[in-house]
């Protein structure tokens, strides 16, 4: 049984400027770089350049990059808030670039939810009305709207503030409303464009944790945008890294930290305490011929380097690593720790 991925992006270009689509067709050449340069020479802005990836059902897919790298444009292409210049975007197998206007409205009413960096709350509506707005667009009745709105408001921890207006809320509370509104219609696909970037670090961390909790129960297919590598590593199942409109690397947090494809990605990963993001399995090696014997600390494959290190701080020899069932699957030597962690400093 093969189910279509939740989102499939193929050869997606977004070029801003006059006659972008014609010019893009003209300059078609083999590699992305030279096309982009040619476009720029003509005064166009290639904001997204030949993006290709898919997001699986239930996956939390993070897009990360510096500001101006085209993240927002990319997510807006997927939700068709801007018209992509060329390429294909399929949602559950349906090419939404071909979708009619009414189909698009239908999709947005039923299937898609979006959270914005600056919240995008309607200033003239109360919290409850804001949250119920997408339901109103669906044509749901008043009582139904109210009930459902209260449910999601509770989910984001804003009970009791239903009748407040956005201007009366703190930044963190506002984004909770934004999240509640985007969840009101129970969408399958959830877009979040830097939802926590405008918040203070403490509030940000709190909301990240709650977001993970919500996702653990709801299991949406998510595209989450951030410029903060720590946030990306904390939340993501997989991360796509963007630079100048190009997706330069896609991988799990560990892959990004361990095997950055180029200096740009390496630069991001530099300040990350690697010990926390690398697991033992990453540095272990097969057990040698002579079986390890002795009274070893219990190392498991899924352990982070940091934890493992505290466990075997006093050892000078190779330590066996066990999988979840307690079977020995490899060993680590102290030098491997040092090597793995030390590369951070260089």
């Amino acid at each position: 049984m093969s189910k279509a991925p939740a989102i499939e992006v193929e050869g997606l270009w977004q070029v801003f400027g006059e006659k972008a689509s014609d010019i893009l067709k003209e300059v078609r050449s083999a590699d992305t770089r030279s096309i982009a340069t040619a476009l720029q020479d003509k005064g166009l802005i290639p904001a997204v350049r030949d993006a290709n990836f898919e997001v699986h059902s239930g996956e939390l897919f993070v897009i990360m990059g510096l500001s101006g790298s085209g993240k927002s444009t990319l997510i807006r292409c997927i939700s068709r808030l801007v018209e992509p210049t060329s390429g294909a975007v399929r949602i559950d197998g349906e090419d939404i670039l071909q979708a009619s206007n009414s189909r698009l409205i239908e999709l947005r009413r039923r299937k898609l939810g979006m959270v914005f960096q600056h919240f995008g709350l309607f200033p003239h509506m109360s919290v409850a009305d804001n949250v119920a707005f997408p339901l109103k667009m669906q044509g749901a009745g008043k009582t139904e709207r109210r009930a459902r709105a209260l449910d999601v408001i509770k989910l984001v921890g804003l009970e009791g503030r239903e009748s407040a207006y956005p201007r009366e809320l703190s930044g963190g509370q506002r984004q909770r409303v934004g999240i509640a509104r985007s969840l009101a219609v129970n969408p399958d696909i959830w877009f979040l464009d830097e939802p926590f970037s405008a918040l203070d670090p403490l509030i940000r961390r709190q909301l990240q944790d709650e977001f993970l909790n919500i996702q653990a129960t709801l299991k949406k297919s998510i595209v989450f945008i951030t410029h903060d590598i720590a946030e990306a590593l904390k939340l993501a199942d997989r991360i796509a890294i963007m630079r100048d409109g190009e997706v330069v690397q896609i991988g799990t947090p560990t892959q990004i930290v361990l095997n950055p494809v180029d200096d740009y990605v390496r630069e991001f990963a530099r300040d990350i305490p690697k010990g926390r993001h690398m697991t033992i399995s990453e540095v272990m090696e097969p057990v040698g011929d002579n079986p390890l014997a002795g009274d070893w600390p219990e190392l498991r494959t899924g352990m982070s380097l940091e934890d493992a290190l505290t466990q075997c701080a006093a050892t000078f020899e190779a330590v066996p690593v066990m999988d979840g069932d307690g079977k020995v699957v490899g060993q680590v030597r102290p030098e491997s720790f040092v090597k793995a962690l030390g590369s951070e400093a260089t």
Binding site: G120, F122, F133
Partner: protein
């Protein structure tokens, strides 16, 4: 030696000026544009537009007939409704909008109208305003939404709105008079048309300022375009739109009062005009005060729409109306029996009479001083203004030579010090003063303004404004245009100096601002017309009175923008200057003033536009130039003259606007704003 752009512009201008000066005695057409070279633009407009309007006439008459119903109905309602009920309704509305403060304002304001004895006239004015404003609001909203929804028409709409707001008020009236026929409907339509642009502008601005995220949130919620617009974007822009409502109301009131010059409707504007013509200044003053009170009540109440979010208890409003209704049965319904201000009017008359009698000499010498040493030389030049009768001696040709000699010497000194542009500008200024604005040779003006345009906005602007000025020349309106230019120029200059100083003072001292601010507020609320009353009281009809009236009205933006520019220096910059040990004055000169320059330039721009607007109104009390032509055209129902003079006026305003905006933009760019 490499010259700056400014120096080049000044150099070219001064060379053309010098050439004109030498050739003028020999070449007639340099000084005066020959009549044979003008195009009969007036006739063309009269015939062309006359024909077009003739076709529209039946439609317009039908429209007028239709509009007469709500207008007559509302006039009847307001004049028949017992005054306690009306005052109570206004008070109740005030309460609802802004609590007890607004309620009090409504009660006191309309109470004053009652005792002024102008109740009935005021109600007629109010009826006109309240019929025209909904029309204006609907038109404005529709235009604003259209411009927002259809980006292709936006720039076109903006140009039309610009034109509608720069065309002087009187100029609207002539064609409308032709279309709609004599009567109050003209005022009604004129004020609806005049009041629509602010609504349209604010609607567009508000919609454009709706946050991107809010707009996208509406899309992602699955709204149709119409749902997005009406459920999200327009409500989110409500504050800005309400500012539009406020401005629209004020514009409508102003225009309704101005339209009284057509006559035929016994409203408060007519009362002012009538009493002013009869030189009953006490009565004119009183009627003017009624207008001011109206303006303040309407302005402050509608302003709460944009700022206040709280709606006050409707039950109290109901109770107030109830009390008014009960009172209506008890008190004398005849509003005229409450006129108590007749004595006040009389005593104002006597007071002014006594004052002018006692201080006549001082007033006269003030007026003559300003005329002889300021306005006249500026208008006709020192060479003609200096007479035994004015300055005590006769200007001789060799004085001109001396003057130019000194100017050139000083200019040369400046140039040697490296300030070439300033040196040349000094020579130009002296030249203008010697010749007089009204006598400037046209090639010099065209080239000079073109050079300014080149400095402020490049070749494109230079070409545009030179062509526009050229059309005035071709239309045979040149002399009148120069006269208008002279009077508005003199007023703007005075406003810039006085307003700049007041703005500076207000920026330095909180107390000063506490005094100046309410005065600015009131001056900005008063309909243009009313400014004529006080100057007439003291200085009679004439150019000087017009000059004063223009200054009083046009000085306000200069004060406001100067102060605002000076106090809004970013705190970091101030702190950086303080920590470098700057004194208060050093801070002002080195940090605040340069940073304030763009803002001050915008203030100057507003002042210029205000001056042009008032210039036309001031034609009522005796000015020459385009304003007078527009006013005369209205009297003679001469569409060609009315439109062409109105257009010329609008062109002058447009040129001034673009030039100053260009320079302001330059400054902003230089500051990296």
């Amino acid at each position: 030696m490499s010259l700056t752009k400014g120096a080049w512009a000044a150099l070219i201008t001064v060379l053309v000026g010098a050439l004109c000066l030498f050739l003028e005695p020999h070449v007639d057409w340099l000084g005066k544009w020959p009549a044979g070279w003008t195009l009969p633009v007036n006739d063309w407009i009269s015939q062309g537009l006359g024909a077009a309007l003739g076709i529209l006439k039946p439609v317009a008459r039908f429209f007028a007939w239709l509009l007469a119903f709500p207008m007559d109905g509302l006039t009847w309602l307001l004049s028949q409704s017992p005054w306690p009920l009306t005052i109570a309704s206004v008070t109740a509305l005030g309460w609802r909008l802004g609590g007890w403060k607004m309620a009090l304002l409504g009660a006191v304001g309309f109470g004053f109208v009652l005792i002024s004895g102008y109740w009935l006239q005021s109600m007629r004015t109010l009826a006109l305003v309240f019929v025209s404003v909904p029309l204006a609001l609907l038109m404005g909203l529709a235009i604003g939404i259209l411009a927002y929804e259809v980006p292709r028409v936006k720039s076109g709409v903006n140009v039309v709105l610009d034109v509608m707001q720069t065309v002087p008020t009187f100029a609207y009236l002539t064609p409308l008079l032709f279309l709609f026929g004599f009567g109050p409907v003209v005022g009604l339509v004129a004020s609806a048309i005049y009041a629509a642009p602010p609504m349209a502008r604010n609607t567009l601005l508000g919609l454009e300022r709706v946050e991107h995220d809010i707009r996208e949130a509406a899309i992602m919620s699955g709204g149709t375009r119409r749902q997005q617009l009406f459920l999200v974007e327009i409500p989110a822009a409500a504050n800005q739109i309400m500012i539009g409502v406020n401005q629209s109301l004020m514009a409508a009131l102003s225009m309704v009062i101005i339209a009284a010059v057509i006559g035929g409707f016994d409203d408060i504007g007519w009362e002012v005009l009538l009493t002013m013509r009869k030189a009953w200044f006490g009565q004119a003053f009183l009627a003017g005060l009624v207008i001011v009170v109206f303006a303040i009540v309407i302005d402050r109440m509608s302003a709460t729409l944009a700022t206040q979010r709280k709606a006050f208890d409707l039950r109290i409003s109901g109770a107030i109306v109830g009390i008014g209704a009960i009172l209506s049965f008890i008190v004398n319904p005849d509003s005229t029996s409450y006129a108590m201000m007749g004595g006040v009017a009389a005593s104002v008359d006597t007071a002014v009479g006594t004052f002018t009698a006692n201080n006549g000499a001082a007033l006269d010498s003030f007026k003559n001083g300003a005329m002889f040493y300021g306005l006249l030389p500026l208008r006709i030049g020192l060479d003609q203004a200096v007479l035994p009768f004015t300055w005590g001696f006769m200007w001789q040709p060799q004085y001109s030579l001396w003057l130019f000699g000194v100017a050139i010497a000083l200019g040369a000194v400046l140039a040697i010090k490296g300030r070439v542009a300033q040196g040349i500008v000094l020579i130009i200024a002296v030249g203008i003063l010697e010749t007089g604005i009204a006598d400037l040779p046209w090639p010099f003006v065209l080239i000079g303004v073109g050079a300014l345009g080149w400095m402020g906005g490049g070749w494109k602007l230079a070409r545009l404004i030179t062509i526009l000025l050229g059309t005035i020349l071709l239309a045979g309106l040149w002399e009148r245009a120069l006269l208008s230019l002279y009077l508005s120029g003199a007023s703007v200059f005075a406003c810039a100096v006085v307003g700049g100083l007041l703005g500076l003072w207000a920026a330095l001292s909180k107390t000063a601002w506490a005094i100046i601010r309410p005065m600015c507020d009131v001056l900005q609320t008063i309909p243009l017309f009313v400014f004529l009353i006080p100057v007439l009281m003291f200085f009679q009809i004439g150019e000087f009175s017009a000059f004063l009236a223009i200054c009083m009205y046009a000085v306000v933006p200069m004060i406001r923008y100067t102060r605002h520019g000076l106090i809004s220096t970013p705190p970091d910059m101030v702190e950086a200057a303080v920590s470098s040990g700057a004194t208060r004055w050093q801070m002002l000169r080195e940090v605040r003033a340069p940073y304030a320059a763009p803002s001050i330039l915008l203030g100057l721009n507003q002042t210029i536009l205000y001056a042009f607007a008032m210039l036309v109104i001031a034609a009522l009390i005796g000015t020459t130039g385009l304003g007078q032509s527009i006013y005369l055209a209205l009297g003679q129902a001469d569409i060609g003259m009315g439109i062409s003079a109105g257009a010329a006026m609008a062109i002058l305003a447009f040129i001034a606007d673009r030039l100053v905006q260009g320079f302001a933009e330059d400054r902003r760019k230089a500051l990296g704003l």
